[in-house]
Symmetry: C2
Subunit: 417 residues, 2 copies
């Protein structure tokens, strides 16, 4: 007999969202020789172990410049630290430089990756069983999973045009929509972006309906070749309607696991929403590793707060890969029976095929074709079959990307015939 009965454990553990993530993580371990077009990991092309001590030294020098003596420098980096973080001022400067977002550093909570930022935000917003989260559909598995962990149901919103209908429907059912999760720039998994009028309209709906917008922006710095960036919702937000979820995993260094949330909303009990999130953080991770923060802080200092500049080479790789994928698919499937998105940036292309795309097909693909990708079904709330798959253009490059696309093309052709 097992020591623990799974039915006595939290319901999220048997939920699709958590097991999706687990399945997707595990399959890459099971087939280490398969080329991965699955994970949205940044390129490893420019990884350099020497960067870590270099960034640490830059951050330590910055602390000395600010008047800290050596014991204080050591304490800041090596001791327990401020719950809201030690690089909040540097993050605020980065947001001003890269995003034209201007916020009080006190409104920033530095987190153990953007995932913790999502978890804290959803935990704060889920007060009782009538609370629901609205999320653009298809949605990043991490937001759905975090919602499950805090017992917050997710109502899918296929398009901004559907938002009002979903809000009104939820309210008619006695539910309280707490926020609407969106990724306006080069979204995961759809690859789609919102145009500027849609961004303005969304902010208007949020104001009219008293909705918070949870804006997640991990890919904004990576537009495709020739594409100009649009302002984020937070940059357009004049009424503190937007909670901005920030990540340094793609633009800083994934191994630091440093993210943040901008939560400048005022709270009736006094202080900012960031202060409430900080209280929760003290019970989730106490504070984000100051060593890891110092690494990211050093990188921000190194690039004079412009991660756009620091990621020029990466941007070129991703933009080139998006073109490679589009060319490859166009020459492989000229007949129209297979279609794909041509995103204006980011990591992801969605391919739609005239047959079922499920975990079984993925396993076959890994085992027999040596290529990994993600069934789009993992990003939807319902169990309805979805005939499409997501590939990521961030990991494999050059001949490896070509080989992966050849393998994927072979799989699709075999299924078509």
């Amino acid at each position: 007999m097992a020591d623990l009965d799974v039915t006595t454990l939290h319901a999220s553990l048997t939920d699709r969202a958590l097991n999706s993530m687990n399945f997707l993580n595990e399959i890459s371990h099971h087939y280490p020789d398969a080329i991965s077009l699955a994970a949205g990991r940044p390129t490893e092309e420019f990884f350099d172990l020497d960067d870590v001590p270099r960034y640490l030294e830059l951050f330590a020098a910055h602390l000395r410049d600010r008047g800290l003596d050596e014991p204080a420098v050591r304490r800041t980096i090596l001791q327990y630290g401020r719950t809201k973080g030690i690089v909040h001022e540097l993050v605020a400067r980065n947001l001003a430089v890269d995003e034209d977002i201007h916020v009080d550093p006190e409104a920033i909570v530095v987190t153990a990756g953007c995932q913790e930022a999502m978890l804290l935000t959803l935990r704060a917003l889920r007060a009782d069983a009538t609370d629901v989260l609205l999320a653009i559909s298809p949605a990043y598995v991490g937001i759905t999973g975090a919602a499950r962990v805090v017992d917050l149901p997710v109502l899918p919103v296929p398009d901004v045009d559907d938002l009002l209908t979903v809000v009104k429907g939820a309210r008619a059912d006695g539910l309280r929509p707490r926020g609407f999760y969106v990724m306006p720039d080069f979204a995961n998994p759809s690859g789609l972006s919102m145009d500027l009028p849609t961004r303005h309209r969304l902010l208007e709906i949020a104001a009219a309906e008293g909705l918070l917008l949870l804006e997640d922006n991990p890919y904004g710095l990576f537009p495709a070749a020739g594409v100009d960036r649009l302002p984020t919702l937070k940059a357009l937000d004049t009424e503190r309607r937007v909670v901005y979820l920030g990540s340094f995993a793609k633009t800083g260094l994934p191994g630091a696991r440093v993210g943040y949330v901008v939560a400048d909303q005022t709270v009736s009990s006094g202080g900012l929403f960031a202060d409430e999130l900080s209280k929760l953080k003290s019970m989730v991770t106490v504070n984000t590793s100051p060593i890891a923060q110092a690494v990211i802080g050093g990188k921000l200092l190194d690039c004079d707060f412009s991660l756009t500049a620091a990621n020029q080479r990466e941007r070129e790789i991703y933009a080139g890969n998006l073109q490679t994928v589009a060319c490859h698919l166009a020459s492989a499937f000229p007949q129209g029976e297979v279609t794909w998105t041509v995103p204006s940036g980011g990591f992801f292309v969605v391919i739609t095929v005239p047959f079922a795309v499920d975990d079984e097909l993925l396993t076959t693909s890994a085992q027999e074709y040596g290529v990994l990708w993600t069934p789009m079904a993992h990003f939807y709330e319902s169990d309805t079959p979805v005939n499409s798959l997501r590939i990521s253009c961030s990991g494999a490059t050059g001949p490896q990307l070509e080989a992966a696309l050849d393998r994927l093309t072979a799989l699709i052709r075999d299924r078509l015939s």
Copy 2:
């Protein structure tokens, strides 16, 4: 009007536990010149920034020794990583060397500090509104706060002798006790330890009642002078009754924010409890910073897995400070109107006085006497006034500790007269 009404946010945010932690954090920022006997932080005496790159290099060399090529070494430390961690095998060796605990590394989840280990464990164990956590009282604020975050009520257990009564009472009330949280070695905040017969008895009760024991052990490596360590519950656990919550904050480096949980219980759905905690972790922090893990991994390699050996100097400081405190208090209060604990190790001494000890007195102490400590009331579930305070012997040393004790003595004397 505020943007967010606090009554629409999660109840934990207005709970005593989360606001305690916040108050205690904030007061040290408000009175930076006060000497702190409040925080249970490790000594900064031997902090060295150069240790960080040195440990990183040791860990990288270890990966090379295991056959990883340079891209794989860089990927392991700088990329997203395994959800359960990358130093689990090193942690297992450390547990064998320091604690005579022998576990499969797959039963270990490396976490963003021990706080995340607590949160994941409590989240997994809280399935519905009948679930309750039992906790030794007084209890560490972090366990109470983590329980609040996952809506898990805490029933205080003043002594192991009371455990059966509390369990039976809870069951009679229709509640389901999911586990009993204890810190058997040099507990925070009481300073007390369990003797060996009590440890055996506790394991017997756990087996008879089908209870999990959640053992937290941040201070075990710091016995007082001349004191021999006792085996942990996990070392005595032959039936997988104990979930072991591990911290490197006091023995490794607090700025790494690396902890872990040993969860070797089998689960009816297959796999270990650690695998379930890992699924939750993927939605809380994705994975613990591999850079931070590499720092701790390097330290474990550096000391040949004996943190006991690595902390010899720290142990001497803490043991010396415990003696200094005992001597100081004995000479200051020879009459018996003030009493204090003489713990057999760890960081904490509890002083009991014949007057109310509350946050107001702490504020006076910080402002007028220049010394910080912690009102014991923060560690109890009920609002009953508690006439005692906790001081920590880990932060201040030598003349600074003497000065802090003089200030505290002056405060107590002024209140006595």
